[in-house]
């Protein structure tokens, strides 16, 4: 079973993925990265691995593996 992988060190917290997620599975985690950005987290129970977040992310945070 594939799963959404999040590379948090790359995330800049723009929120595009949260806007585009059809299942509202993504949200801000409150964890601040080394660069000072609020990073995203996924609720695996809601995620359907559609890849929408991958397609809009400018910082290559997501992969489905």
């Amino acid at each position: 079973m594939s799963k959404l992988q999040i590379e948090k060190t790359r995330c800049k917290g723009c929120g595009y993925c949260i806007e585009v997620c059809p299942k509202k599975a993504l949200s801000f985690s409150g964890e601040i990265s080394d660069q000072g950005y609020d990073t995203v987290k996924v609720d695996d129970a809601l995620c359907i691995q559609c890849g929408a977040c991958y397609r809009v992310c400018p910082d290559y945070v997501f992969e489905i593996i």
Partner: protein, 241 residues
């Protein structure tokens, strides 16, 4: 569900600002180069501006950095010296339509065989958000703090500038959501395919957000580009020979 992996040519995320559209455009280029099987012989010609950050450990591809506004003639020279390479110029709207407009016009006039990817975010990004020819009427920038006077300065649409010259393909896309990003990728793919088929000059403009210089949150800026910029820069394929 099928696996979704980043193109092998993408090594890391870039140093772009939060919400910058360049990252998506570079990923689309990397995907297209992989799909067409030309990544090994691709040469990127970058502008001295935000787009050039794809050279700093992001896209694993041969690259040249041209002087500001001059990626198009440098790419033209690279293509002339290495005709078997797939050469593309990746630059911004200020570079392509203002500083490098003479080079753009004459390359399109000659119909030289190359691919140009222009990221239009309606401002000069790297230099601090000054007004560009593509800045929208009444849009506030660092050098038009009361809003752009469009009667005085105009708004430049690239299709009006080079649409009747000898370009093979001119298209404009956006990266607002999944569907529009997929359409933009298809445009970029066609622009590269034209070069492989020796068909001539192809230009794809991508409307992209610049939240830092437009002083908006990334999501607000993306919405602004989608609703306001598309009024002056309609999407679609304008020249397709």
């Amino acid at each position: 569900m099928a696996e979704v992996r980043l193109p092998k040519r993408i090594m890391n995320s870039g140093g772009w600002c939060q919400g910058c559209g360049h990252g998506v455009v570079v990923r689309l280029i990397a995907e297209v180069l992989d799909e067409l099987g030309v990544a090994d012989k691709a040469i990127a010609v970058e502008d001295v501006a935000c787009g050039s950050m794809s050279m700093s450990g992001v896209l694993n591809c041969d690259a040249i950095m041209a002087a500001h506004g001059r990626p198009i003639p440098v790419a033209n020279g690279a293509k002339g010296a290495r005709p078997d390479s797939i050469v593309y110029a990746h630059l911004g709207d200020g570079s392509a339509y203002s500083i490098g407009s003479a080079e753009l016009v004459h390359t399109a006039l000659r119909g030289d065989n190359m691919t140009v990817i222009v990221v239009n975010n309606t401002v000069y990004g790297m230099t601090g958000g000054q007004m560009a020819p593509t800045t929208l009427p009444a849009e506030k920038t660092a050098s038009s703090p009361k809003g752009k006077d469009a009667d005085r300065y105009g708004v430049l649409n690239v299709v009006d500038l080079i649409g009747k010259l000898n370009a093979t393909y001119i298209a404009r896309g956006e990266i607002y959501d999944v569907a529009s990003t997929a359409k933009t990728k298809a445009m970029i793919k066609k622009a590269f395919q034209n070069q492989i088929d020796n068909k001539g000059f192809s230009l794809v403009e991508v409307l992209a957000p610049c939240p830092t210089n437009l002083h908006m949150t990334p999501v607000q800026c993306k919405e602004f580009v989608h609703t306001e910029a598309t009024k002056f820069f309609p999407l679609g394929e304008f020249v397709d020979k």
